[in-house]
């Protein structure tokens, strides 16, 4: 398979237009996790986890203190 074919296939898959064989091919690839599994040391795992959780925490804190302005139609519907 070439990158061009893969681009077409993934594009069709995301748009929900792929044929069953393509869907099966992509889903099988997504399910295959037997090889190339790297075992990271516990320290590295903790570091990665902390980084991701930290970013999520920052986003939650920001969105809590800076909520998105509600559009006018949402304000009106909230009254009812």
């Amino acid at each position: 398979m070439t990158t061009e074919v893969l681009k077409e296939k993934t594009g069709r898959y995301l748009r929900g237009e792929s044929v069953p064989s393509e869907t099966r091919q992509i889903q099988t690839w997504l399910s295959c996790t037997m090889d190339n599994k790297e075992i990271l040391p516990a320290k590295e795992k903790t570091k990665i986890e902390a980084e991701i959780v930290g970013e999520i925490h920052a986003y939650i804190a920001y969105s809590t203190f800076n909520p998105e302005p509600r559009p006018w139609w949402k304000k009106i519907t909230a009254v009812f």
Binding site: M1, T2, T3, L6, K7, T10, G11, Y13, L14, Q25, I26, Q27, T28, W29, L30, S31, C32, T33, M34, D35, N36, K37, E38, L40, K45, T46, I48, E49, E51, I52, V53, E55, I56, H57, Y59, I60, A61, S63, T64
Partner: protein
């Protein structure tokens, strides 16, 4: 030392649906590394893996008030991470970024041999041994089983004849 939280997942989801930030943080702490690890096996890019995991939890936070009645977090995460991996590959191919990495890492995974491997049933590794001793089952003949030596073989025809003769006697 990392503190551990043993709150059941359903309680955390209930808290999340009413806008409890620490509940989402706890859920992300539980699932972020397995999701990151999965993305790494597929994309081999730490930046993309982190971004995908972060975006999945952020979108969960943004849709917290629209969670369905019987919401399954594991199913949701499983679906989202797979979709995000495909989206990431597709956008990389569209923008022609890191094509070499895709050619090296992703394309070989689509070979027939690799896909056939995925369809094979999961097998225990050779190092893992059974905890219980199971006797070796051999294909023995009918006569070799000791209980068949003590009891004569019952033929259905003989049984029928015996019953008929008993009925005739009555």
């Amino acid at each position: 030392m990392m503190s551990r939280n043993f709150t059941p997942e359903q309680d955390l989801i209930d808290k999340l649906s009413v806008g409890d930030g620490p509940a989402l943080e706890e859920l992300s702490r539980r699932y972020s590394f397995p999701l990151y690890s999965y993305c790494m096996t597929k994309l081999d890019s730490p930046e993309d893996a982190k971004r995908i995991v972060r975006n999945i939890f952020i979108s969960l936070w943004e849709n917290r008030d629209r969670l369905p009645e019987n919401f399954s977090l594991s199913v949701h995460l499983y679906t989202e991470v797979r979709k995000s991996v495909v989206q990431c590959i597709n956008s990389k191919l569209k923008t022609s970024t890191n094509i070499q990495s895709i050619e090296r890492k992703v394309i070989p995974g689509f070979s027939i041999r690799e896909l056939q491997k995925a369809r094979q049933p999961v097998q225990n590794s050779s190092t893992q041994k059974s905890r219980y001793y199971l006797p070796k089952i051999t294909n023995r003949n009918y006569e070799e089983h000791w209980w068949n030596k003590l009891m004569p073989a019952i033929n259905l025809k003989d049984l029928k004849q015996g019953l008929q003769s008993m009925l005739n006697m009555w």
